[in-house]
Symmetry: C2
Subunit: 556 residues, 2 copies
């Protein structure tokens, strides 16, 4: 084993939790373990009667810590466990957990253990879609500044929509909950024994991006605004929340003796403030001013930062602009595409089952020149998160002939996601963010050189790939290293612990020009089908189509 | 065998020729035979270096008569052959054949037998696409009335474009040809021994729809207009053509003794004027004022008639409005969709090879309610023949989600063809044609009840299906019966010889309303992507996409 200290990153995903043990001097991973959540369908408790429901059992989170940390440390071997100096945590979100007055999660109490309402409301739970629309309308009228920081629309995936929905649909659980704790805050609180409502720290990442928290207006939304829904149910929860939030350079507490014994770690090591997985993926990829990070998976999370000392205007259509939500000392800007890998999977498995697989389609698509197929697609099969913030939007493929082949269609879908990525990059640049290069992470960035080259050509910007395959967990481990003092700050941690792969993608001049022309067409379709301006001019084709679809599905 | 007389219908398709023997009293088919053209790829001589080339060898046409008539008569048995009273002929078109001064087809002479330029230029040969554009421009400037009768654009599939292309690309063949004879005129001329250029009759169907012939301006285009191309090459051919044309109620001559002996038929029986296959398919389906006929195959031909005694305005966008081109005594209106069955075949075989077949997709699609999938498609994978007359246009599918299934996409494609069919019906109705019902023919009309029901719902009009499976050949046989005097006119022939199936499709009220809404959206997309008005307003997305495609394909 190398000398020096180690740190642990805990990465809570949608279906499993991973722990990695890394050397603070090099970022080298010496141990790693994954635990699949046992409850529900791949960890997600669903409701056959309501496709919007997605819950998780907090017991899975607890079981996951013990299993993964123990196994990862065993892998690391030697005296690594004794030299672990800190822990960082990332989770999905907004994934709020209802807790009682003592801070215990309701789902961990026998009487609620089997009630999905009392479990964690997973980020992709959309049961509160009507409540989200209500909150959006109310904020538009009373506090437009709240929405300006989160893209103009409050989402059903976010805290207050979920809480209002719970209050209306399962009042018993809602009343039993003293407050709600984001998973990103709950795990650190559990490890540090600070789950009591007056002790639990709230991270700026979850609070700022999902709960309309901003120092500019003193924290969470004003009490009178919160009180305006129903009989004031949200105000009661709001009253339990602190006015300050922590970031990943803050220590939320130290590992309890009990957890130290269970995990075989030194007691009293610091635990960093939590954050969302993608945000710490940005950190683990080496995000800094000028470097955008794209976490590409089934969907994407696009991250950028901008020094707090520079003024930054609100950026319409991005998911959030929150001080220190990603990197301390910087505004954190989060944007994203609702579907990327999901679109390719849909095409491979749903549209042509038994047909060409990803590899064969990639191979065929890679032979094509930009524009040669005559196809152009919109990447909205799962709506548009940025910059239109409209989950209802749908995808399209234009330019089909009798000769259009699966590889051509596949390439058009890849290009569509590149155009969607460019819309996001262009938007943040338009509002003053510098983007000199993009670091990508996620399995597809390694598996599909074609995709990466297309992204480089379409964005006309170098595409780099993060060296780590576990950037989220690495980012968490870096937070653990910083709070432990192993590095003075994240710049130093990034310098030591992150890297990029040798394989880089630079724009090819002969493709850039063609993609400029294609992107101009994409933008016309984007505006035509996605914006209100054209909808008002009789071009509300996509919206009207959705209205018909909903009516027909609803009719018996 | 039933008593009475019989008649023969010869139906020359793209890959084969069929002969049927039918009873003139009932239309009952008593014998049928098919001959596949031996030359080229399924009868089509192509050029690997030029996808626009599609030629056929006239020797195949001759061989086909003998084989099919002999076999069909053998099937009929008894003394049927002796009681055949007339023959009718339908062919593809415009399929012109270069002939020498004696009327012999060049390709039948040893020195030209292997030269594709000297063969028949099959309807789908598009080598003259630039020449077609030139002719369109010239006619627009000098004689817009020529274009008004054929939809506003002269097609590369038509006579003069092919001839001008030949004159420019193989002058030797062009010079060796004294004149050119449409296949629909050549077969009757061969059977009646009237192939000499001053004897061959020209049918109004080919001349009127494909060669800008119209009695309104005295026949073929004016000599000075024809002389305006290159060094007057077209004028030389035009000078060989008559000022009058025949229709299917005209006798072009009688069967020669030699052919009578070869075929085992009575000598001297009359041969009717030829016509295009789809037109005689209209006749064989019982077309009349108020009854539109759709011949649905890989593409469609939509036919309507209107009594000549009523004035009829030019109808923009239809393929032609020509007196007596379909039914004597009536204007013949031809329209069509560039791809219908071809789109379904593309989806089944090209997009998802190894996936669901037609039957399975139909079954899945039939479970869906209109609009339920949220999908909307444009049926332009092979361009738009009517009403936009733009072969460059391409297809699209809008409304895709991560759940869109093959059956949903398939149904959207079927619906798209129904919307395209409605555009045609609406256009002819708008210009004064009555359409009370539609008679459909073609294999798919029997194979897919779902498709027929969708057509009934979208057009809000009863969909009937022709009883005969060989309506084109039956129409030809009816022409043989009429020229033989077995029926006084086509009304009587239709009464006796045609029928519709018991299975009919009437609009379902609950679907009509939804399809009205969807059709309104289809029209918006149709206009947006297909018309000049929007192209001028920065919405030339589809056209610009095609321009990029062509440039990229052309670049090495």
């Amino acid at each position: 084993m190398a000398s020096g200290s180690y740190t642990i990153g805990l990465d809570y995903g949608t279906n499993s939790v991973r722990a990695i043990v890394v050397a603070t001097e090099t970022g080298k991973e010496v141990g790693s373990a994954v635990f699949n959540y046992p409850h529900g369908d791949m960890g997600v408790v669903t409701d056959p009667k309501d496709p919007h429901v997605a819950r998780q059992h907090p017991a899975d989170y607890i079981a996951g810590v013990e299993q993964t940390v123990t196994e990862a440390l065993k892998q690391a071997g030697g005296d690594v466990a004794a030299r672990v100096v800190g822990i960082g945590v990332d989770t999905t979100g907004s994934t709020p957990i209802p807790v009682d007055a003592s801070g215990e999660a309701l789902a961990l109490k026998p009487e609620y253990a089997a009630n999905p309402t009392a479990m964690a409301w997973l980020w992709k739970d959309h049961t509160g879609y009507k409540e989200a629309a209500e909150i959006t309308e109310a904020a538009k009228a009373a506090h437009p500044e709240y929405l300006a920081k989160c893209g103009g629309t409050y989402s059903s995936e976010w805290l207050w929509a979920k809480l209002l929905c719970c209050a209306r649909t399962d009042r018993a659980v809602f009343e039993a909950a003293y407050t709600w704790v984001e998973m990103a805050d709950w795990i650190p609180a559990v490890l540090t024994g600070t789950t009591a409502p007056d002790q639990v720290k709230r991270c700026i990442c979850a609070a700022g991006h999902k709960a309309m928290f901003n120092p500019a207006w003193g924290g969470y939304p004003a009490a009178d605004f919160m009180a305006s829904f129903d009989d004031g149910v949200l105000a009661k929860v709001r009253d339990t929340l602190p006015d300050r939030a922590v970031n990943i350079s803050d220590t939320v507490g130290t590992l309890t003796d009990e957890w130290a014994t269970t995990l075989g770690l030194p007691a009293g090591i610091p635990i960093a403030g939590g954050a969302f997985d993608a945000h710490l993926g940005g950190v683990g990829s080496g995000i800094k001013p000028g470097t955008m990070v794209k976490v590409i998976g089934t969907s994407t999370c696009d991250l950028a930062v901008s020094p707090i000392e520079h003024d930054l205007a609100d950026i319409p259509g991005v998911c959030g602009v929150v001080p220190e939500s990603i990197l301390p000392g910087n505004y954190g800007i989060e944007a994203g595409q609702s579907a990327v890998g999901d679109i390719f999977n849909w095409y491979v498995h749903k549209v042509q089952p038994g047909g060409l697989d990803h590899a064969a389609l990639n191979e065929g698509a890679a032979q094509l020149k930009p524009g040669e197929s005559g196809l152009l697609a919109l990447d909205w099969n799962n709506g548009n998160r940025t910059v239109l913030v409209d989950q209802q939007l749908t995808g399209m493929v234009l330019g089909l002939t009798l000769h259009s082949s699966p590889s051509e269609i596949f390439r058009a879908l890849v290009e569509a996601t590149a155009f969607g990525a460019r819309m996001i990059r262009d938007r943040v640049v338009e509002y003053g963010i510098t983007v000199d290069r993009v670091i990508n992470c996620g399995g597809i960035t390694v598996k599909s050189p074609m995709l990466m080259q297309i992204y480089a050509d379409v964005l006309n910007c170098p595409m780099l790939i993060s060296a780590s395959e576990q950037t989220c967990a690495l980012g968490s481990a870096m937070a653990g290293a910083v709070v432990a003092g192993a590095h003075p700050d994240f710049e130093a941690a990034a310098e030591a612990m992150t890297g990029i792969r040798e394989q880089q993608y630079t724009p090819l001049a002969e493709n850039v020009g063609v993609y400029e022309r294609l992107f101009a067409l994409y933008k016309r379709l984007h505006d035509l089908f996605g914006t209100r301006e054209y909808a008002a001019n009789q071009f509300d084709v996509m919206k009207e189509l959705i209205a018909i679809r909903e009516a027909q599905r609803a009719s018996s």
